[in-house]
């Protein structure tokens, strides 16, 4: 490397940039293809070309928003609403419940505190699959199958979120908390006026990851809900894939609606997102 001339180095650099740009193009191609396909004529999608050979159409969107309802399937408008409702409720619950718990663990001493900290770490060890059957049974015992609650409540107690809040809140000086207490500020005031505003970055990271995971969830939703009207987009789209194998245009329009909101959120909050990932990586 040290014996290479400057000029040689420059060529290598251009070569590397071209390779990585080509790879990025391959990685992004499916999105481009889906976007164009969702506006293509049905017979045009099956062709391999990216560019349309027939006039573009919004027929597939009309189908998933309107026609679907007429033939007794969940229209995408409703499914979109369900996804938004479920994902944002879980996100809100996780942040509030996790924030309260993280605050309690980091700024209060109470009986069992050390056990609870270990409990949270213990919880994070187990894979989801272990809980699929028994959580379904618990929800069934609570008579919540086929309700929104079934798709919200089981995900509101996130050990991961509590742990992150606990870690982060530990770094906020006790003196600050104490001085608000002396001024007569209540605990909730401390949490919502001091802890959360001082930890915007961690709140965004947790909120973003939880929202994304709920938005993209599939397995749990097919287990916990069979009612058409309550189905989130993933379940509805999977249904299209299974029963409308031929209607590709509708599938593509569905993919676009499922994918783009989360991509926009991701681009807006990309910095918290990448920070969240690197945090998990560096610690090991």
């Amino acid at each position: 490397m040290i014996f290479e001339t400057k000029k040689n180095n420059l060529y290598v650099r251009y070569l590397v940039i071209s390779i990585i740009a080509l790879l990025a193009l391959i990685w992004l191609y499916p999105y481009l293809w889906v976007t164009i396909s969702s506006f293509k004529d049905e017979t045009d999608i099956t062709g391999s070309g990216l560019f349309p050979t027939k006039p573009l159409t919004v027929a597939h969107y009309v189908f998933i928003f309107k026609t679907a309802a007429e033939i007794g399937r969940t229209p995408f408008g409703r499914a979109f609403f369900n996804s938004v409702l479920i994902s944002s409720s879980v996100t809100l619950f996780v942040i509030i419940i996790g924030g309260l718990a993280g605050y309690a663990l980091s700024k209060h001493r109470f009986p069992g505190r050390d056990i609870f900290i270990n409990f949270i770490i213990f919880q994070m060890l187990f894979p989801t699959i272990l809980f699929l059957v028994p959580v379904f049974l618990v929800i069934r015992q609570l008579h919540m199958i086929d309700t929104y609650w079934a798709m919200i409540l089981p995900f509101t107690a996130s050990a991961w979120a509590v742990f992150l809040f606990y870690q982060f809140f530990k770094g906020i000086p006790d003196d600050l908390v104490e001085s608000v207490r002396i001024d007569g500020g209540g605990e909730l005031l401390i949490i919502f006026r001091i802890m959360f505003p001082l930890s915007k970055s961690i709140v965004t990271i947790i909120g973003m990851f939880v929202f994304m995971q709920r938005w993209d969830e599939y397995l749990w939703y097919i287990v916990l809900n069979k009612k058409n009207a309550l189905m989130p987009m993933t379940t509805v789209l999977a249904g299209y894939m299974k029963t409308y194998g031929e209607n590709l245009g509708a599938q593509m329009a569905g993919v676009l609606l499922l994918t783009f909101p989360i991509i926009i959120l991701f681009i807006v909050f990309r910095n918290s997102f990448t920070r969240g990932i690197t945090m998990s990586g560096l610690k090991g």
Partner: protein, 293 residues
Amino acid sequence: MAINVLGRRYKKGFIGLALFSPYLILAIIFWCIPFVWSFVLSVQKWNMMSPPSFVGARNFISIFSDKLFYISLRNTFQFIAVFIPLSITVSIAISWMIYKIRVGASFFLISFLLPYVTAGVAYAVIFNRLFAHDGVVNVILRSFDISIPFFTDPRIAMSSIAILVVWKIMGYYALIFYAGLQAIPNSIYDAALIDGASGTQTFFKITIPMLNSSFVTILIFAVGLSVNIFTEPFLITEGGPFLSTHTFVFWTYKTAFELFKTGKASAIAIVTSVISFGLVLIVRKIVEKEVRV
């Protein structure tokens, strides 16, 4: 005064517990009870209707005498054999390139991360089409006189699914490696340069060993992901052709919610978790090393 202090401490303790209690209650209902219940179920026979009966270790015996266990195990290992080497090689190469060119780093990292935020259902639909017989991948391959039946040949269906998952997760791993690369102090490279190390030597003798903790993290994630793969085989290949994409989570789901054998399904889930733990332990044992700067 002393009473006052004690009183205050008691009150503070009570408030702490009160603030923790929403989490605690939900965790008891949706974590502790299910956790214990899954072990109780695993020694029972129950179809969710008639009363459960105790069957001892029979669920576990039936798993190990079921050919689906060995099929799922084989498929999981086939997935791992393709997924782990491929995802790690590609992500380390890409993070290294991004690190070296130092231009547009965040643009490239974000592009490669897009698939990570995309729902499994969405990209299952996309790739089902792109990898189809007349899809774009086969059209390109056909110009070289090759045609690959990605999802219809039982010998390669699981590997094809592994390739999709590489597409999805690569950006995530690349970002972890990229952060790892940035954490390596420049002084080490300077020292290597003075000692006359070549570029390849520096990469394999310094960069790779210094990335050890990133490797460990990624391998643990990758193993967990491999053992728990579900959405892609469930939607694209439905476990087929000839059970070639039948996985453990798929098996658990079918056993519980199509055959209504909750006992056996819980036992499968426990065995799956044990396999997952075992592989993580092996990874740690082999890969994890103390790295000193």
